[in-house]
Symmetry: C2
């Protein structure tokens, strides 16, 4: 096991009716900017619950943080927040709203352009922020990561922000999610866990088991959620999986990868595909091309998660990749570039970008532009 | 899943050589009381590492916090701490030293007798404390629980204290532990997880998998540690299991039990048996007597952990209990009261005490004095 320092200060407030806790958690003298995505929270009752819980507070609302939140939108929110002198932020929505609000929290105390913060990879001091999560997927509600897009430059990068002070998760708020958002959320969670698990084997038995426990849960609940998206316990397990999958709890003392994410971000930046969708397309290719370095862990994953124990090493690896691809498709997403009309032009462009930036991703920093091309060629 | 609020602020500092981090974590102006158990830390190099790391700080040492720390000893530490005006506590040792130091932290800011705090079940404000853990077992390094004994009254109770600010865990500090302390630590960890897992099934898939993941890890590493107690990765997995087993991470949204612990505490109070040892004796009896209410979860545990799938319901439950008992014995402890010369007199006395206190333990608060007697009769 690698040495590590772990600390996660987020207060997780989980369950039915817990939005009412808001007034116990935010000091009365705060001026709150509440940030939203589109209008779905007005239809599903979340907006009404938030408004009721915050009676008596001074609040400003900012609407329109989009999926893959853009610096263009967030600049407007920062300008509004500075003008209104807000000193507390409450994100209400999915991971994109939370991510975007993390940048607002940093931008409010920064004099220059907030894109500088993203490019620097790390925020300085921030205004305190909290979240009410309505879409389980990114884990942003209990970590310090955020990913921001720049439409002007067609770039998409992550940076290290501050933790939310608290996050409220009520599974009932997910009952009205569109089916495709649930699908992307399940896949996003699955791959988050994989990015922390599909590395050198034998680093930590506990972390391996915990990662596998989330994967097993997702595989068990995915078809049940499809049949019954308003089942409280199923959606509670989904929310728990998403939050626990990316809050550091399965990452202690083990290596991480994130090559699939880096490649997926490019597909979003170039074609606007949903984040979870890009991961479903890329990940089987990552396993396929990196089968030498990741082979032992793929075999462990195949055996423990899919019960694959027969055949040669390569046959078992192939069967495990096929099972994974099949699972993504069963959730309801396409897993091939060609199914989205994406071809060689994009593959070459991503290779060019990675080469130009001189980057190499993955646990062993060996996923170069050329390796990325191989991975994407497997997914045509 | 039940509603819950989770927050664990402890900074976990894990790995080889991490004791040197001390000077980065404690403000330079603090006057530190360092608390110890016996002298083992002088033999295994831990004392030397701590002294080196704290050069330049004002420190006072308090030695002699015993296993099952007593109020009699802790009163002396509190008196010394008040006299020396210490404003930071550093516990160096196992769970008993950490537990005892949690009471010292509260006692330093309390005017009356510290046993009041234990009886109240909850501490008020405390002096900040941190820990260097040398014996994986209690989880005290990352939770707010502490258990204190009173020799005068032969009582032993838990209370809710404050979290350590940070805890340093270096697996190398465990290399010189006596074999029986390792055995008790493995069993203590196993039962901690069980007290949060062996309850109504179907509450949370993720929590179930995580609890099972720690159980699987312990079962895998126990024989290997016996053969090779100086293996870094094995002891790292053991330390991780003990800490993750009782820091709230497997307890989110699920019921807890703790009947076995309540009964075990009495065996320690009356006969001085090690805490982990009492749990190995009691737990199979708890499963046996509560087989109706816990049956479905015993079957899940039996199937997922021991692969038991054949036979009638009762046969599978019996086989699962037998496997559990066998595991405890394989670790190196006795699991029968008679093996420790304990008989009916003690069983009757524990029944009398529980009846007198009018208590009933367990998830369903149905483990009365009479049920406790049944449990212990199964363990003669």
């Amino acid at each position: 096991m690698n040495n590590f320092i772990f600390q996660n200060p987020v207060k997780l407030i989980f369950g039915k009716g817990m939005i009412a806790q808001l007034s116990k958690q935010i000091p009365k003298d705060k001026k709150i900017m509440i940030t939203f995505g589109g209008g779905s929270v007005k239809k599903n009752g979340v907006y009404a619950q938030v408004t009721e819980a915050l009676k008596g507070y001074k609040t400003v609302e900012f609407w329109g943080i989009e999926p893959n939140p853009s610096i263009e939108t967030l600049r407007k929110a920062i300008a509004l927040g500075k003008e209104e002198k807000v000193d507390f932020l409450l994100a209400v929505g999915g991971g994109s709203v939370v991510d975007g609000t993390k940048l607002i929290a940093a931008g409010l105390l920064y004099e220059g352009d907030a894109w500088d913060i993203v490019k620097a990879g790390q925020s300085g001091e921030t205004v305190p922020l909290a979240a009410i999560l309505t879409l389980p997927a990114t884990g942003s509600e209990m970590n310090r990561a955020a990913v921001i897009s720049n439409h002007a430059t067609k770039e998409k990068y992550g940076f290290t922000a501050n933790y939310p002070v608290f996050s409220i998760l009520d599974p009932e708020t997910t009952f009205t999610l569109p089916e495709n958002q649930v699908a992307y959320g399940i896949i996003d969670t699955f791959i988050h866990v994989m990015e922390q698990y599909m590395t050198t084997p034998g680093q930590s038995r506990v972390m391996d088991r915990w990662a596998e426990g989330i994967l097993q849960t997702l595989i068990e609940i995915a078809p049940k959620i499809k049949a019954n998206p308003r089942n409280y316990d199923l959606m509670a397990d989904f929310m728990m999986s998403a939050t626990m999958g990316l809050n550091g709890f399965v990452a202690m003392g083990v290596a991480q990868d994130w090559a699939t994410h880096s490649i997926g971000h490019e597909l979003t930046a170039l074609h606007g595909l949903s984040h979870g969708h890009t991961l479903a397309i890329v990940f089987p290719g990552t396993l396929d091309v990196l089968r030498d370095s990741k082979g032992d862990k793929i075999l462990q994953y195949g055996e423990r998660i899919w019960g694959i124990t027969n055949g040669s090493r390569d046959e078992r690896i192939d069967a495990t990749i096929a099972k994974t691809d099949e699972f993504f498709r069963s959730v309801g997403v396409t897993t091939r570039l060609s199914e989205e009309g994406i071809g060689m032009e994009t593959i070459n462009e991503i290779e060019r970008r990675f080469n130009e930036r001189g980057v190499a991703f993955g646990e062993n920093e060996d996923v170069t532009g050329a390796v990325t091309k191989q991975i994407l060629l497997k997914r045509l």
